[in-house]
Structure formats: structure tokens, C-alpha cells
Symmetry: C2
């Protein structure tokens, strides 16, 4: 298996981009990543996108976007695992370079979510749940995560205040990220006082509807060393992917995210690392409770200690394991197909030491954890400076 490195990163602005189409925001991210890499020729473009059919009436994105970039002819692959589509785009590109099938891959993620009204967006997002056994009965994602939160509160004593602190921290980080959808300071009082969406989750416990795109350029470590001119090279050392039951009703245990645990275990095993080795992590905080549960599933904290850890400041920049330095899905925004790629973009920026005001000092090893549905799938990557 060949060693694989990230040699370019790029992002569009995240937000409600009324004036830009999917292909436009995607091209912004793609061209930024190619320029960053100093590469203008790729073998393959992967596109993580959850539901362009329902959001903009367009499938076949790999053909559309290769063409848009003036690269018609290259190989193209759109991949989907609900909100973990971006992580899957990275995994797919990784396998192509590792196997030797491709030498250079442009890994991208994109979603244009604001071209439909709220009801249609809720329906589109709901297709990540089991339509026959969950969606049909009327439940949507805030309700599904609210049930996970209720179990966590009952079993471990996790509090509303702890969840609110996730939002406070991520919005504080988002203030330092120019690409973030929101640049606003949020207090625990504001979160706790925001509109109740699904008990116990309030509006500010939820990630937003976002338009955005992100991109990475992958190639072999050997080629990356040539390109870097002696500078740091960021290598992908772990890639783990797992599923769980799609519906909560069939889940063995609602108190943990087993797909995240399994994907994490596979990534750690591949990289030969443990949670203690990781300097920072981007986790999939689609709801505040999801961040708490993800940090437990990845082994950073014992089950039940994810909530207290946030209160202790362990997950802040400067804490023992900074979580979501980018602002996370909560503040940076959550264009569902782009999220997994944007997480890796943040980790690479941190490992390069170019994360500006939100830089984690001395970061050498980072992790990105992307998740689909209510934990029906998860994809975890570990990146290291070599």
C-alpha cells in the first residue's frame, strides 16, 4: 500500500450563499486546493455530496463538476454516506492513491442546501434516517438526537449546561475562522434560552443549514516531498469506516455511538496510535450532544465524562484535547456533503501551523471524525506531520 499525503487544501465561504450555485461554490474550493498544491492535473475527482437530487435536482455531480473545472476526461466519483459523505470522499481518494490506481486525486465535498424551503430541506435531511421505519412516523433529526441526549442525561447525569458549553466553545472558535457561517459570541444563557426544538435540544444546540464546499489534493508521500521543497508533509496514517443500525429502534445501546467507536478503533489500529497521541480532533457536532458522545466514542474521555470534560475546558484550544477548533458544524456551518472534507482541511491547517488565531501549539497529529444520520455510519481519519 502506497503512503498518501495531503498536498493542497481549499474551502469556499460557508453560509447562506443565495447568489451562488453548487457548481460555483464547489469551483471556489476546488481551485483553491489545486492552487495551494501547485497542481493543475489530477487523475480523479471524488465528490462527497449527500442529496443533490433533492436539494437542487441534479445527480451525476462528478461529470458535472469535472466539466465545470475544465477537466472533462478525468475519472470522477460521487460518494454518499449521508452527512459522512465528505469523509467517504476522502476515504475513496485515499484508496485510489494507496492502491496505485490514481497518482493525484482531488477530494471534494459540497452541498447547496438553501435553494429549497425549510420543509424540503428537512425532508432531504430526513432521508439519512430509515424512511420506512423512522421518517414515515414523522421523526426528524433533532428528535432522534434528542432521544440520544435523554438517554445520556439519564444514564450519566449529563446536563443541559454541559451541552450548552459545547455551543459556547465552538462559537468562540468560529469567531476565529474567517470561513465560518457564524461569527458571534454565544453564552450558555443564550443557548439555554433559545427556542426549544426537541427536548432537551434548543435551537443553539443544533447545527445550521449551510451552503459550502471544501477540497483536498491527495498524492503519494514521495511526490508530496518533492512538492513541499523540504517543508512539512501531512500524511494520512489512519482511515476507519463503520456502520451501525440506521434506525435508533434497532440500536443495541443508545448510550454510545458504536459506529464512531468502531471507525475510531480501525483508524487507531491502522495508524498504530491511541487517543493519547492525538493533538486535536474535529468531531461531528451536528448537535451539541453529538460532540460529547463522539469524544467518548473516540476514547478521549470515559463514557459519561464527555459532558464534564467540556465544563473543565479540556476540549478548548489550550485544553488537553482541543475539539472543533474550526468552530465545528455548530459555528462553521454544516453543508452536509462538504463537512467531512472541511474537517480534514482544518486538521491539515493545524498540522501545517497555519491555523492563525485558533492554532493549537505544536500540533503534530490530528483526527477528523465524520458521521452519517443518527450514527448509522462514521468515517475517521488520522493525519500526521512527517
Amino acid at each position: 500500500m502506497r503512503e498518501v499525503a495531503v498536498v493542497g487544501i481549499g474551502m469556499s465561504q460557508f453560509g447562506e450563499l443565495w447568489e451562488k450555485s453548487l457548481r460555483y461554490i464547489w469551483s471556489e474550493a476546488a481551485t483553491a486546493a489545486l492552487a495551494d498544491a501547485g497542481i493543475d492535473k489530477v487523475d480523479l475527482i471524488t465528490v462527497g455530496c449527500m442529496s443533490p437530487g433533492l436539494f437542487i435536482g441534479q445527480e451525476h455531480l462528478a461529470s458535472l463538476l469535472a466539466d465545470e473545472l475544465g477537466m472533462a476526461g478525468v475519472a470522477g466519483a460521487r460518494v454518499e454516506s449521508a452527512c459522512a459523505s465528505g469523509g467517504l470522499a476522502l476515504r475513496t481518494g485515499y484508496a485510489e492513491v494507496a492502491s496505485g490506481l490514481s497518482d493525484v486525486v482531488l477530494v471534494t465535498g459540497v452541498e447547496k442546501m438553501t435553494d429549497v424551503d425549510g420543509g424540503a430541506a428537512t425532508f432531504a435531511l430526513g432521508t439519512a434516517a430509515d424512511q420506512e421505519y423512522e421518517g414515515f412516523h414523522g421523526i426528524t433529526f433533532p428528535g432522534l438526537y434528542a432521544m440520544l441526549a435523554q438517554v445520556h442525561m439519564q444514564r450519566y447525569g449529563t446536563t443541559r449546561e454541559q451541552m450548552a458549553q459545547v455551543a459556547v466553545k465552538n462559537h468562540a472558535n468560529g469567531l476565529k475562522n474567517p470561513h465560518a457561517q457564524y461569527h458571534l459570541k454565544v453564552t450558555a444563557e443564550t443557548v439555554l434560552g433559545s427556542t426549544l426544538v426537541a427536548d432537551p435540544l434548543c435551537l443553539l444546540d443544533c447545527s445550521p443549514i449551510t451552503d459550502g464546499a471544501a477540497a483536498l489534493v491527495l498524492t503519494t508521500v514521495d511526490k508530496a516531498k518533492e512538492l513541499s521543497g523540504g517543508g512539512p508533509v501531512v500524511k494520512v496514517t489512519g482511515s476507519g469506516m463503520a456502520t451501525d443500525t440506521i434506525s435508533l429502534a434497532n440500536r443495541e445501546d443508545l448510550g454510545e455511538l458504536a459506529a464512531v467507536r468502531r471507525a475510531g478503533e480501525r483508524a487507531y489500529a491502522m495508524a498504530g496510535l491511541t487517543p493519547a497521541d492525538i493533538d486535536l480532533v474535529e468531531v461531528h457536532d451536528c448537535f451539541t450532544i453529538a460532540e460529547i458522545m463522539a469524544t467518548e466514542a473516540l476514547g478521549f474521555f470515559k463514557p459519561g465524562d464527555g459532558g464534564p470534560a467540556v465544563e473543565r475546558g479540556d476540549t478548548a484550544i489550550g485544553g488537553s484535547i482541543p475539539v472543533n477548533t474550526s468552530g465545528g458544524l455548530k459555528a462553521k456551518g454544516h453543508p452536509v456533503g462538504a463537512t467531512g472534507v472541511a474537517q480534514a482541511v482544518e486538521v491539515v491547517a493545524q498540522l501545517r501551523g497555519t491555523a492563525g488565531e485558533r492554532q493549537v501549539e505544536g500540533a503534530k497529529i490530528g483526527m477528523a471524525q465524520n458521521m452519517g444520520g443518527s450514527g448509522g455510519s462514521s468515517i475517521v481519519h488520522i493525519l500526521e506531520v512527517v
Copy 2:
């Protein structure tokens, strides 16, 4: 790069399966392939599916289907390249085994197209074209392929009768395939006299709307040899993937399918083979003209000789290069996400010598060519008995 073999094949019935859901028909194909391989444990499930969001209101299929099979926990990846989604599922599984990331992959394709009415199905299929620059103006796929046919007729003198002979041959082959949607004998007069859909294409020049699923089990050639007990092992020796402009308006030349040519060239180069080495091929005959153009793009006939070749009987079972022995999309049916996998299932059956009445004598090397949109993407695989 590790060598990869196909050790199991399976298919559901193809047709209008009103009484069965997507997960049901998918499970039929998946369990058949696993039973055929004698394997009950896989590392990854890939799912080629074009638009489950628009057809059945369900995304996140890899999680849903791993769970349905009682395999929640394994890695899962849904992939999409419009009607070439099945070929992409095979490519993705191939890269995983070749790289060493996975040892056993269940490669699947599925589409449930008859749960919506004709207008909604036409819209869903239309998302494979450029929605902003083609779909918005009202064109659908019969019209797009009719334009390709008109150019081919004008430039090369290809005739309506030659196109009709594609349908005649493929329906004759379909009569011998128990999984095919249609078991009916069709004459050139019937095709030419059927309702005009988009000049020059009549109803019987078009592939149908179909429900269906197909599956393959991939593993290393070493493991395949253990499993086969000395029997024939079918190896994947070539995999080529390419795009072209998604819209016909931007296409350099409407007289050829450049994505098919490029994907074919990449597959031939990887396998170290030429068209003369191929014993049979499944091509993407979504319309009769598409089969003629695909056989030219893959180098079996010179440009313009694809039509006469059908009339000469070169593409019939017993001809110089049997094309679509399965009945093709035309007679076997075209559940869009399943088609690319079903093509490989047919090739493997032929190479094993188990294709029954439609067996190509002495077949040792076969090819499967899958296509998205009006040629916006194509994926070609070459399989060989070793």
C-alpha cells in the same frame, strides 16, 4: 497493488417488482452472491445507486442495507455516477481490495424505479443531465440520445434498421436469461413500427424502467484460489474510468462517446490487452444507438461500422464479438444503479462457463462497459479467467 478476483455473483429478478421494496430486492442479490462465494463475513459493502432520494425518499443506503443484511458494523459506501453507479461500485470495491484496506468487499447495485409515476421517474433520470443547461429547457434522455443518433446517421449512414437489429438481437438474448425483465421475441418490423419517442428512436429502441439489484463478492486472487478448490478463478485485470462534458452542447464531437473511449483505453492499458483479445462484452445499450456507438468507442469496430456490424451478425452470440449476451439493458432491464454490477455478473457467468443457453464457447476474457448520462461518464472493467 494486490490482485483482485470475483468469487461470488448474485442477481434479483429484474422487472416491475410492485410487491418488493428496495431493501428486499437488494437483499436477494446480496445473499445470492454471498452464498455463491461461500462467504458470510465482509469488510465493506459498496452500493451503486443513482437516485434513491428521488425514487424512494431514502439516502444513506450503505447503512440501511448493511443493517438489513444483519451486518451493521461493517464499512459501507454508496457511490453514484448516474447510470454508471454500478460500475463505480465495482471500481470502489476493487480499489479497496487492491490497496489492502479491505480483504473482502460485497459490491452491489440497486434501483427501485417503479414506486413513483412516470413523470417523477423521468425527472429523476433527468438529473443525470445538466439541470441548469439541459433539463431546464425541457429535454430528457430519449431526446439527448436521439440527437446523438441523428449525428451518427448523417455522418456514417447508420440506418434505423441497423438500430432496430440491436433490439432484435438483445431481445433474442434476453429470451435465454431467466432474470431478464422481458422474455419476448422482437422483429425489426415491430421495433420500426413502435411508437416514435424522439426521432429517430422508437419505443423499442429504448431500455425500460426497471426494479432490480445485482451483487458481486471481491477478494484477493490468493484467497479466491483457496475458495475455488482448484476451479477457475475470475480476476479483474482492467479498470478504466473517465468523464466527458455532462451536456451535449459542450461536447467536442457528438459522433463519438469520448468518455467510453477513454475509459476503455485505460482499462486496456491496465490489462495489457487490445479489443481483439476480448471474447465478449456487455455494453451500456440504454438506447439502441448507444450500443452501436459503444462498440465503436471500445475499438471493436471502426467509427461508422458499428451499425453494419450488427447487421452482419458480428455482435450476436457466435459472432466475432458477442455483445450483450445477457439481453443488455434493452431486454434484461435497466435498474440504473444495478446495471453496471449486473453487467459484471453476466461476464463472470460467461467466464465460468455457466451462462447456459447464452454461453459464449471458450470465453476467457470479458468486458463490461457502464455509462452515465448521455456519455458524461463511463466505467469499463476487464475480467479474465486465470
